[in-house]
């Protein structure tokens, strides 16, 4: 009976930790199998421990090229989407203008649309226009679907900003440019950073839209997809693990720094 009571009291904790385990289990498997030495072409069954893949992460032809390409595309797409998206967000929050409803739905719809629909329709556009599929069509598509997410992230931040700060700057004889650069932009920066981070992650990991509009160009997710049909090299797991570890370390370091800063302030 005591056990049942204990279970009842901690039900949320147990169920929550179960879900967390479900979320993290594949990452654990990816990490373990990055040290595998598979027998056949596929890396799905454990054979024996080996660090071969870690010492030679680019050992598979095309893998590191695809990774570089994905990073390039993600970088450009983030830059463009963040710039265009932040401009839209400022316009939406700070100005009144006609057709606001239409603008809002044009921004909301790409997020409410299954990716495969956007991918297919974009491909019909490119085919009809006779545009060669490749780097540029991927970049165009990525900027398109990242835009809305940047708008939402920046809008949330700018909306919570006190407009009187800008008025105060103007009262102190700051011109519109100076007000924007010295007051508005620094306050909006976390929102812009969040939007950019989201855009980068979305672009880097996109498969469905890229698969339709890449032609014969191979991004990293396209490489993984292809290898799932032909044979999965262990190096894929190495890169997956490395990205996970780097991301977690970056977050932990930035948390430590901000913690220390807060303590110094206090």
């Amino acid at each position: 009976m005591a056990f049942v009571n204990w279970l009842k009291r901690h039900f949320v904790v147990i169920a929550g930790l179960f879900t967390l385990g479900y979320l993290l289990l594949p990452n654990v498997i990816v990490t373990i199998f990055s040290f595998n030495d598979p027998k056949g072409r596929f890396n799905y069954e454990w054979q024996k421990f080996s660090t071969d893949a870690w010492t030679d992460p680019c050992g598979v032809s095309g893998l590191c090229d695809s990774l570089t390409l994905s990073l390039q595309i993600a970088l450009w797409a983030t830059l463009a989407a963040t710039l265009l998206g932040a401009m839209i967000a400022f316009a939406l929050v700070r100005y009144r203008f006609r057709a606001r409803g239409a603008v809002n739905s044009l921004i909301f719809l790409p997020m409410a649309m299954p990716e495969v629909v956007m991918a297919a329709s974009l491909l019909t556009l490119f085919l009809n226009m006779g545009i060669q599929l490749g780097f540029w069509t991927i970049l165009i598509a990525h900027i398109m679907f990242c835009l809305s997410f940047v708008v939402i992230a920046v809008k949330a931040r700018v909306m919570s900003m006190d407009p009187r700060l800008e008025q105060a700057a103007q009262d102190l004889y700051a011109g519109p440019v100076q007000t924007f650069l010295r007051v508005t932009l620094p306050i909006a920066a976390p929102g812009i950073a969040a939007g950019a981070l989201l855009a980068f992650a979305l672009s880097f990991d996109d498969f469905i839209i890229t698969n339709f509009n890449a032609g014969s160009t191979v991004t990293f997710p396209m490489f993984v997809w292809g290898s799932a049909q032909r044979g999965t090299p262990v190096q894929i797991n190495v890169i997956g693990t490395a990205m996970f570890v780097i991301a977690v370390l970056l977050v932990l370091v930035s948390m430590l720094i901000s913690n220390r800063r807060n303590k110094q302030k206090a």
């Binding site: 949320v12 169920a15 929550g16 179960f18 879900t19 967390l20 479900y22 979320l23 993290l24 289990l25 594949p26 990452n27 498997i29 199998f33 799905y44 069954e45 401009m87 839209i88 400022f90 316009a91 100005y95 009144r96 203008f97 603008v103 044009l106 921004i107 909301f108 790409p110 409410a112 649309m113 299954p114 990716e115 495969v116 629909v117 956007m118 297919a120 329709s121 974009l122 491909l123 019909t124 556009l125 009809n128 900027i143 398109m144 835009l147 809305s148 708008v151 006190d162 009187r164 990991d205 469905i208 698969n211 993984v224 999965t232 997956g240 990205m243 996970f244 977690v248 977050v251 948390m255």
Partner: protein, 307 residues
Amino acid sequence: MATVTEAPPLAPAPEKKPPRKRGRWTPYLLLLPGLAWLFVFFALPMVYQASTSIQTGSLEQGYEVTWHFSTYWDALTEYYPQFLRSVLYAGSATVLCLLLGYPLAYLIAFRAGRWRNLIMILVIAPFFTSFLIRTLAWKTILADNGPVVEALNTLHVLDVTSWLGMTVGDRVLATPLAVVCGLTYNFLPFMILPLYTSLERIDPRLHEAANDLYAKPSTTFRKVTFPLSMPGVVSGTLLTFIPAAGDYVNADLLGSTDTRMIGNVIQSQFLRILDYPTAAALSFILMFAILIMVTLYIRKSGTEDLV
């Protein structure tokens, strides 16, 4: 209702702005590049797709608009099993995401204490490993002679699921269960994050108040916590259901030819069979089906302001 943690609201800022002639065109200039991009590469493609769906012809001789609407009817009659399967799989995955995600979101919001940030990081961090690699890991987890399948076999769970048609024989891979499992896994964070956001906003004093009024914990949950988390439930289910319904990665990697979803059909029609009119028609049907379902759902749940 004011909360203790929030600072007292300042007096509302004066709304009126001095009319500035210079700034009249500013909003349009700010909007123009981004909206033009969305118009040309999101809205215009829809028009092209609509026109493609009513064309007839062949790849060699080219296509012509012939208002051939029966493509839609043919596509529906031929591929309705895949449509139904998509709705069924995406629906089950959404329900599972809600059941699995709610406790974790609740844990982070109310019970995690100083572990809150760490758990948040662990929820988001898997995103940094490409989702295709993580989905492939499920092939290992659900492998035919792996520990998971063995355990399910020993517990006779697979007998029940195969009687229900969710698995075939004593394997999990290449069955509907594997696909639903993969979909649930892939979209779970999209359920957890909105749930957490809406749970976190709930004033903990409301729980104390319910407690003081002799509500049992389960009653408190049913009458206070859950209703207040409804916005999170609604946006979480939408963020899970919409991408899951159009997904073809999980059905391809973890399923078999018997688990093909509508996304798989659109993908192969477009990229392999090159039957563009049928592919465009299917894609349009999927879009309208989802728009209708989403609108009905939002109406019914009474949360109209999601964005």
